[in-house]
Symmetry: C2
Subunit: 476 residues, 2 copies
């Protein structure tokens, strides 16, 4: 099945908005193993629209259209398509009633202009829109399925999932000897794209599933696609391959699908009843912001300090003046003192801290732009026997220490490490925050704290987004 996506709207053509709808639709289609061959966008211009409809119907099996279903004069998708196909418009009472109910629910007045949103080309199947006013519709023309959907991403997304994909899947199943497809997205952090590819080369080659790699800074995503004569066969296959991958690269996989690292960390902390506090210098609030992006984060997030100045590090986090003077603000002793200081101030189970030089200014010969220290401190009872196994050793720039009473993890402990990330300011902050969040995840799952050496293992390539000939962050 050859798919084509068409989005309609002056605001897209003028570049006033970045049109994310095409990517939204294309990635959903991939779940059914349907590939998108063409993407096009045209203005709210009937002649251009007719032309695009005609071309799509003649060259594709599935034409997915988004935009132009609103109530205003500029919204002309339905009428233009009906005219192009020589189909009269028909009024649908049920859709009009659903629209009226929608307006009543959100406490707004329905306008007479909304009436046109209940008109559909003859022969179209109507696709309900429970979260907006504009219903979509589907029709078949010369063997091509044409689907028209609203342009509001939230409405489009729901309509794709609930209405369009099941119908496309049903068509696919009518085909002879069609295989069923299941896809799963594994989210990894800490390993470069080409290293990931190298580590999993044999799994990719054994034919059980297809692996596709993609950088989404600072993560790398791994898409696993398996086919089978039945869905359960495809499912069994994908489970087996995913298990093999996890056995191989284990703790580098932090989540699946839409799970962000901060959501995973929040889930782990919440489930274990543990709390965290954050002391940030160079990340300037990024870690706190990410952790509190999660609804209900007040259960485990006690608070954060953004301590940019030395005096703030002293007064608020208890870093001693001597330590600051002797080692400088960007140093291991300071980040360690920040992590334990913030943990003590908030009475949290875990304290995490960052201090570094995100640039572009502020570097020196011994402390270049890009240098960053990350520290973590944890209290009694947080499992860490594995983490403390290399206690006292400096491994890959990370020094792990047992707690005050020297127990094997039962009394808590701390770790600190340094990295040089040769990135611009924004990406330096993002990557630093991600390593810090990943350390909390590793602490909670009792896996080794890792840094750049592991990030570079395998093919010797850099982590996602670091300059490396193997890293592709965009097409060139």
């Amino acid at each position: 099945m050859k798919a084509e996506i068409l989005t309609i709207g002056d605001e897209v053509l003028r570049g006033e908005i970045v049109d994310s709808n095409k990517a939204l639709i294309a990635s959903r289609l991939l779940q059914l193993d349907v590939e998108c061959h063409y993407q096009a966008s045209v203005r709210d211009d009937p002649a251009d629209m007719r032309d695009a409809f005609e071309r799509g119907i003649s060259r594709s099996d599935l034409l997915l259209v988004s935009g132009g279903l609103g109530p205003t004069r500029d919204d002309r998708t339905t009428e233009t398509l009906a005219e192009a196909l020589g189909r009269p418009l028909e009024f649908d009472e049920g859709s009009f009633e659903a629209m009226r109910a929608f307006f009543a629910r959100v406490g707004r007045e329905m306008n007479e202009t909304n009436r046109k949103q209940a008109l559909f080309p003859s022969g179209a199947e109507i696709l309900a829109n429970p979260v907006g006013t504009a219903p979509g519709f589907l029709l078949e023309e010369r063997g091509t399925i044409v689907v028209c959907m609203p342009g509001v991403p939230r409405e489009l997304s729901l309509m794709m999932d609930e209405q369009v994909l099941p119908r496309v899947e049903a068509r696919l199943e009518k085909g002879e000897g069609v295989s069923r497809v299941r896809a799963r997205m594994l989210r990894t952090f800490g390993i470069g794209e080409s290293s990931l590819e190298g580590e999993l080369a044999d799994i990719a080659q054994d034919g059980e599933a297809e692996l596709a790699f993609r950088t989404s800074f600072p993560d790398n995503f791994l898409r696993v696609v398996a086919r089978g004569a039945s869905i359960s066969e495809a499912d069994t296959r994908i489970d087996a391959v995913a298990a093999k991958i996890r056995a191989r690269i284990g703790d580098l996989v932090y989540g699946e699908g839409e799970e962000t690292l901060e959501a995973v960390v929040g889930g782990l902390l919440g489930a274990a009843g543990r709390t965290v506090a954050v002391a940030e210098s160079c990340t300037g609030g990024t870690i706190a912001q990410k952790l509190t992006d999660n609804p209900g984060s007040s259960v485990y997030f006690l608070g954060g300090m953004v301590a940019y100045s030395n005096s703030a590090k002293q007064a608020l986090l208890g870093v001693s003046e001597e330590t600051l003077v002797r080692h400088g603000a960007v140093s291991e002793p300071v980040v360690s003192a920040m992590a334990s200081g913030v943990r003590a101030r908030f009475g949290a189970d875990i304290g995490i801290a960052t201090t570094g030089i995100s640039g572009p200014g502020g570097g020196s010969e011994t402390k270049p732009v890009g240098l960053v220290y990350i520290g973590i401190s944890w209290g009694a009872g947080i499992a860490s026997s594995r983490i403390l196994a290399n206690s006292g050793e400096v491994d890959a720039g990370i020094r792990v220490s047992p707690g005050e009473s020297g127990g094997a993890g039962g009394e808590g402990g701390s770790a600190a490490g340094h990295f040089i990330f040769p990135l611009d300011r924004a990406r330096h902050r993002t990557l630093t925050a991600q390593v810090a969040l990943d350390w909390i995840r590793r602490l909670m799952t009792d896996t080794e704290l890792v840094g750049p050496s592991l990030m570079r293992r395998g093919g010797g390539s850099a982590p996602a987004g670091l300059p490396s000939s193997g890293t592709k962050t965009g097409s060139s």
Copy 2:
């Protein structure tokens, strides 16, 4: 001049990346008043690419292509275009040398595969790429200008500005009676799109310039386009219209072009030698993160606290237990205490604070989800005679108070207000942070602190992104 944009790459067609390059190119073209009529994307497939080239050349005057200029086997733009146009490929020694110098500069090894990036279709004009390996090129075919550029946004952006736009402008100027165009983008915050349109209706109608409105949550952007027989005529016109707009809506315009609100606030603080400290509850670090996004922010940003829990508000910010118990954490007395507390703790000139219910949980009948309090506190010498004019009065939910010694601004003062933003969690946090930053801007420019009532002035529509029949945040 009819322009068309074509982007090339499997990753775009699969929806693995949201292709922002088309919007980047289109918005740059608008600076020259050139409208984009078509946008298309195809895979790294020679047949599809040939087809797209052919169509673009036959229907458009300017075809801007991005992607597929890299060194790998998948990058086929140059060879495919050369073949489609029947032009041989020619090796350019100068480009190859520039590439070698680029690799030496970034300390990387040049690969033999990079050689193909120095091949260009016969008759092409080469466009240098000072920030990457792939040069672009321009050629003319059957009256259509075809420009090929790299897909890496940073490289594309620079090539558009420095190489492509001047050449397009030069072609435009060859035309008979062509007018010169100047465009300027004014960034506004605090007024809804339809209110903005209403306020400026007469200016839009007097024909001196065209005004276009666009919502970019939580801001509204206003694009002013003026034409003239000469550039200086267009410039004079645009200056006059911009002055008229500023006279009308004055302090609602916070910046121009690419200036973010946090950059404007940072600039004001830096220029005045003033410092700020932030106490955040519901925004969870967003304000601190934005302020520290600016390079060199350590000059004016002393630090921040993310005080999610009551105990943190007490211990770190000095909010009294009595105040918390009596009024609740989401209240005007608490936000005021947070703002003055954080200012005192960090010894800053200005303290800013937020506390609210971003949702989805945590609301009650008297304190619904969406309720938020914002507080600001400032020290002696920060001009605010205008701000203190309504001292003691509660205007539009904002209460302004003079400092301890009761002077007319000379001794500092404070203000606090509450808003109900019926938005999802992420947008609630974003809008709250923007109001807080805007208050700092207003304090530094001695303009009235405003809230929702002003945001709703004019046509009675809601600010950008708030539900309102007049607000359009996407096409439907």
